[in-house]
């Protein structure tokens, strides 16, 4: 791709970038939030057309692509945001637009289901092709998106932040597949803000900054520090964040909370100023636990105590009134209000929960926006523009600010840094520490060990809908987390019992 330019109205997302991928390589595309990565990939995938510039594929000029020609050229695109049809089954989504038919145009359902089962098996995931996508978990949905790209033979797969909702095990499965694809001569463009992943899987890299090409080369020639500097454009101190000590009085006690069939008998207590990480593998019921703690899902048993008092927690408003805030996972479906402006999206939680005033005060909102923009380094145009004009990472920053503005005592963070670039991530970790210093508590739902390690005081590991163990800061190692998350300790116990 040569000298690509793309503008959205007044914003120039790409200011003439070059980008080259060779055969059988995994090419990492790096850049801050809003650098233009997704935009370039959307052009290659045929979703947008560039304003100017050429695209050359296998030596042929393919400058005007649409989704179908891009597909027939062997390009597969895993979008940054989920694009699945919730009302259709998993296998129907996989084959959407390319159904197999037998004679008379009749759908060959059996063949499609078998092929889907095969793909899932190859990916080593346990998804029934006959479940409706609506009933799948966010991580499963992301796996279905990936499976769709693997279904047919192809030459190039674009993966735009494919792992934001995946657990470590799923990620390593994915990497196995990427390696075998590479051996078959398939190239992969891999976009991620998770540095360790990039260094594990990529052969070469390209860095964008502010819609411009910065540098390209082999991944082995750089390390994480250089990469970070390249994409941010300045030095940042990614030293370990220092944890402040926390007090011992607890703000939240969970007693034998159950939400069948997702999880049962969950008990723990959260101390003032503490960061408690909750982790596990798929199917541990974490997502539902987060919802229950926030009053967004009814529990079947047990109670939640806030500052020693039983909280009703029937509705979300009860939880918010008890000074709990939650940043949900699956930004597109559960956080973004697409028809509203950046500013309104930012202020939404404050509207519904701060003060009794009936009115929206414009100057106050504007002031709130500039404050948050500065704090979180949100790259945006006019605050009255639609939220959908922001890049994925910047949207996430807006959502993060939305909840910080509430100044709650307890924050539930469900995969809060999804899609946020390296520089900003550290900012967020610092922020979480600041909150601890102000005696606020956080519950961090995450499956990224480095992230947990950065901020957590303790780590609760779930297994099959139950608390398996709670690790203290001293016990917190990646090995340990994996050991308990896979339930290995229980297997040993069972073995002894028998």
């Amino acid at each position: 791709m040569r000298n690509i330019v793309k503008s959205f109205g007044a914003t120039r997302a790409l200011k003439g970038v070059d980008f080259t991928v060779t055969d059988a390589e995994v090419h990492g595309l790096l850049g801050e939030n809003g650098a233009g990565k997704s935009t370039l990939m959307n052009i290659l995938g045929g979703t947008y057309n560039q304003n100017s510039g050429d695209i050359i594929i296998d030596g042929k000029d393919c400058s005007t692509l649409d989704t179908n020609t891009s597909f027939s050229l062997g390009i597969r695109f895993i979008h940054q945001e989920l694009n699945l049809v919730n009302d259709l089954m998993a296998y129907e989504n996989l084959f959407l637009g390319r159904e197999k038919t037998s004679q008379y145009g009749r759908l060959d359902k059996l063949a499609m289901i078998q092929a889907s089962t095969a793909v899932f098996k190859r990916m080593n995931v346990d998804i029934d092709p006959l479940t409706e996508v609506r009933d799948l978990d966010t991580s499963q949905k992301q796996l279905v998106e990936i499976a769709r790209a693997l279904l047919f033979d192809c030459k190039l797969i674009i993966m735009d932040e494919p792992t934001t909702a995946l657990t470590n095990k799923e990620i390593s499965n994915l990497f196995d597949i990427i390696r075998s694809l590479k051996n078959e001569g398939v190239s992969v463009i891999y976009i991620s803000h998770k540095m360790p992943e990039l260094f594990e899987i990529c052969d070469s890299y390209t860095v964008f900054r502010d819609g411009c090409f910065i540098q390209s080369g082999a991944i082995k020639d750089i390390d994480e520090h250089i990469a970070t500097e390249l994409l941010v454009g300045r030095k940042i101190d990614s030293d370990e964040v220092v944890k402040p000590a926390n007090t011992n009085s607890s703000v939240m006690d969970i007693n034998a909370l159950s939400c069948k069939p997702y999880f049962r008998d969950v008990s723990f207590s959260l101390k003032k100023g503490e960061v408690l990480a909750i982790t596990g593998l798929f199917g541990d019921g974490r997502g539902e636990l987060a919802e229950c703690l926030f009053g967004a899902r009814h529990t079947t048993d047990g109670e939640i105590l806030i500052n020693g008092k039983v909280s009703k927690h029937r509705r979300i408003k009860d939880a918010i009134d008890a000074s709990i805030a939650m940043i949900p996972r699956n930004r597109k479906e559960r956080s973004i209000i697409p028809d509203m402006s950046i500013q309104d999206n930012l202020s939404m939680a404050s509207f519904s929960n701060n003060g009794n005033s009936l009115f929206v005060r414009k100057p106050q909102e504007r002031e709130r926006f500039s404050r948050c923009q500065k704090n979180m380094n949100i790259k945006s145009g006019h605050p009255d523009n639609l939220i959908t004009s922001l890049s994925g990472g910047n949207q996430q920053k807006v959502i993060f600010s939305r909840w910080l503005e509430l100044d709650s005592d307890i924050l539930i963070l469900d995969n809060p840094t999804q899609g946020i670039d390296v520089g900003a991530k550290f900012q967020i970790y610092h922020l979480i520490n600041q909150l601890s210093e102000q005696s606020k508590s956080c519950i961090l739902f995450s499956s990224e060990f480095p992230e947990i390690y950065q901020v957590a005081d303790r780590c609760l590991v779930m297994y099959m809908g139950q608390v398996n163990t709670i690790l203290s800061r001293e016990e917190l190692t990646e090995m340990n987390v994996m050991y308990y998350a896979t339930g290995s300790n229980l297997e040993v116990k069972n073995a002894i019992n028998q």
């Binding site: 989704t67 979008h79 699945l84 009302d87 145009g105 009749r106």
Partner: protein, 328 residues
């Protein structure tokens, strides 16, 4: 011993699960059963063969349109112009029949002309990017206006000398089954196969459920929508043909009036989501029959005429409420 009884429990539970799943996939069956029970209590003869075939026959004309409405609603749109399409097509259909005296030509004309009118709707909606509600509201007014102008307010009458040809086809029976019922069942099966066994059916669901995702997989969203409107247009045309046979005289100003509301109600009672993405032809088929059953119940129970609307509204709400509660 323990084990076997446990196994039986599990098996039974699995059966229960399957049954539950079946009903949550086909919630309209519950409403249908409830209505059938009410009808039978009021009139024990209600579900005799004659009544059943009459029921099918009576639901056919609006039911055929409701089949098309199912596609349109699943794809996330709506069509308010079907009643006007019926009026325009049936009015001109009478002229065509009187001129050509041919059933086949008339039927072809009706379905073709209907699908052209539907195509016009589809073009405005997709290429003109106007909401289906407003496009079909406008064409509802426009299509009817055209036929009223042509007929100058008066009726279109099938000529006496060719009348029996069309009435035998439409109102006749074969092996004791009314043709209207046969046609309805045939079209319902055809549409069911279209929606469940073909690529096109899949695309309709996908477009209605998540248009952007459908577009990103390379589905030609505009084409899918236009085709759904052509189909509902053609089915409205067939309905117009049946109406000619049933009434033999078409009053342009009110032929097919409120058909759109009945068709939409049939789809909704049949369990489809009004926001698109979900729905079944089988549900609509029973939905159309249920609406007709309600009419029968109103008459059998001798509800005072001006209260019919109230009772009908309540029955519809209850039927839908009931199926929602069950499918939790």
């Amino acid at each position: 011993m323990r084990l076997t009884s446990d196994a039986i429990m599990v098996q039974q539970k699995a059966k229960g699960e399957a049954l539950k799943r079946f009903f949550s996939n086909h919630p309209y069956l519950i409403s249908f059963a409830v209505l059938a029970v009410i009808a039978t209590i009021i009139n024990p003869d209600y579900l005799t063969y004659t009544s059943l075939s009459t029921l099918l026959k009576q639901s056919a004309i609006k039911g055929v349109i409701a089949l098309g409405m199912t596609l349109v609603i699943i794809s996330g749109n709506i069509d308010l112009s079907v009643g006007a399409i019926v009026a325009l097509v049936s009015g001109l259909g009478v002229v065509v029949f009187n001129t050509t005296e041919s059933i086949v030509v008339t039927l072809l004309f009706c379905s073709l002309f209907g699908s052209i009118l539907g195509w016009i709707n589809g073009m405005f909606i997709t290429k003109g990017r106007i909401a289906a509600f407003i496009v079909t509201l406008a064409t509802m007014s426009a299509y009817r206006s055209i036929i009223v102008q042509i007929g100058q307010g008066g009726p279109f009458n099938v000529d006496m000398n060719v009348l029996s040809a069309i009435t035998t086809v439409v109102n006749g029976r074969t092996l004791g089954v009314p043709h209207l019922a046969l046609i309805f069942v045939f079209l319902a099966v055809a549409m069911h196969l279209l929606m469940s066994q073909t690529k096109f059916g899949r695309y309709v669901y996908a477009v209605g459920s998540n248009e952007e995702a459908a577009r990103l997989t390379g589905i030609n969203v505009h084409r899918v929508k236009i085709i759904t409107f052509c189909i509902i247009g053609a089915l409205s045309g067939i309905s117009a043909f049946l109406l000619i046979g049933r009434l033999t005289s078409i009053t342009a100003v009110n032929a097919g009036i409120f058909f759109e509301l009945d068709a939409i109600a049939a789809v909704a009672i049949g369990g489809a989501a009004m926001s698109g993405g979900r729905g079944r032809i089988a549900g609509t088929f029973l939905g159309a029959i249920m609406l007709q059953m309600i009419e029968g119940i109103l008459i059998a129970a001798a509800i005072p005429p001006f209260l019919n609307g109230l009772v009908k509204g309540i029955i519809i709400l209850l039927a839908v409420l009931f199926q929602n509660k069950k499918s939790d």
